[in-house]
Symmetry: C2
């Protein structure tokens, strides 16, 4: 898509004139998105943005989105000067938005949570797979912890758990259940964390640890894992560890997964108690 | 904190000179954060940033964070030119970061998920609280849906559910359980969604709907809610509705909440099956 397009616009004097505006794509909510693909001089951009805004206002557009790749950081200032606010950023672009109507803004919220997993993997000798990390808050503490990690962009929780165990210890596993989860706030900047403790069933038992991040890895008696002073001292850890031990010994029902399709046709996983409800 | 500070720096010629650098705060991971609080000319900022970077490199700093309030959007371009990438943005600021060491970047990931709730509220006549919305994908469809919404920054899931029901229908409730949750991807930009279906117990029954967003609200026989063609046709909705109905009729155990403290002393909620595990 080229950067500019000619449109007819009715000027204040009621004259119709062809004006060069920024190319945009319309969305389903009555808004438009501009995605800059080529560099542009800041002054020229400011002028075209001003004209485009007048046109979009005449067309009664609602949300105007401008996606600026990091290579075009010279265009951030002129966009802000036209009344746009930041919406979100990734490493290589910044998304800005302006809400045109006078009614309340109904723009989608930014992502607010990071999602992490902890994997509880137990073999048939009652031993749980644990690691000691080279970095992070447990570094140098001698605490044995479950393999943990952050889910990657677009990654499912059940897939992330299997991946983290494989990366950190070399052990192959299969997802069984979500045993519990925890939500905490202001863990980094103003964002929140959701952490899911997942039970996985091992399909291999030989450990090949990831040297760059893992100091040591082993199979450890579950009771010894739970009894560690750190786990006994910190309430959430104590309870999470206790849930894992209970799961290994008796009947604890967590949330199993089921692949499903959303009303828009995308694949999604549902997690629920499948002992008490049988899906159709 | 003033914008600049004088530091001693060893120059390439081995001379020590006092140089004016950007003020920064050190973090626990060997990095520094600069938070711009006053406007600055772009060229002056570029020069001070360049000197500051040399200093931080000499000091063997790791991650360098620069927080730019939207009022200082003129400083984005010079920051990017010094090799910084975007990390995240909120409506009123942009955070940029540069990783100095040659080893792999261990910076925290950006938030990847938006978190939403759906509230299943049932009275003692077997009726569920449902709404029809004025906006969004269900607008004009005549589908009766559960009250839903997005959790706000720093808000707990169990609190968000109660708030949304109160706002949309005026009904007071108490959190009971998370019945199930669903994870989907690419729902907005490259981000993901986690949606928690929560069961709430009503403490009031008179409905006062939120006129701006809600077309209508009522108590509806649970079987009629489940039997709606939309709910029957779409797999996830069918199963979520089925879980709600099962909960209302027999023994379905979801995840109850428990307030707890993290190892860093912050309050957090754990959600787990408290029928099969009794926390200590």
């Amino acid at each position: 898509m080229s950067t500019s397009v000619e449109k007819e616009m009715v000027l204040p004097e009621n004259e119709v004139e062809n004006i060069e505006l920024l190319s945009s794509i319309e969305d389903a909510d009555g808004g438009v998105t501009v995605e800059m693909k080529e560099p542009m001089d800041s002054k020229l951009f400011a002028s075209m943005l001003g004209s485009s805004l007048l046109y979009w206002i005449q067309q009664k557009k609602r949300g105007v989105w401008i996606k600026l790749p990091i290579e075009f950081s010279n265009l951030v200032e002129p966009t802000v000067k036209e009344g746009f606010r930041y919406h979100h950023a990734e490493s290589d672009y910044l998304m800005l938005v302006k809400w045109i109507p006078e009614t309340s803004d109904t723009l989608p919220a930014n992502a607010s949570h990071r999602v992490g997993i902890g994997a509880f993997v137990m073999n048939d000798k009652g031993e749980v797979l644990v690691v000691q990390e080279r970095t992070g808050i447990f570094k140098g503490t001698n605490v044995w912890k479950l393999p943990t990690g952050t889910v990657e962009e677009g990654e499912d929780i059940c897939v992330a758990a299997i991946r983290e165990v494989k990366e950190e210890t070399g052990v192959d596993t299969e997802f069984v259940e979500v045993l519990a989860f925890r939500q905490s706030h202001q863990s980094f900047f103003q964002k929140s964390d959701l952490f899911f403790v997942c039970m996985l069933r091992p399909h291999s038992f030989e450990i090949q640890k990831q040297d760059s991040e893992i100091e040591a890895a082993q199979w450890m008696r579950a009771e010894d894992y739970v009894a560690q002073p750190f786990n006994q001292k910190h309430e959430i850890f104590k309870n999470m560890a206790g849930i894992c031990l209970t799961k290994s010994k008796k009947n604890y029902t967590g949330f199993s997964k089921m692949s499903s399709t959303t009303s828009s046709g995308k694949r999604a996983y549902m997690y629920f108690n499948n002992r008490d409800f049988e899906p159709s």
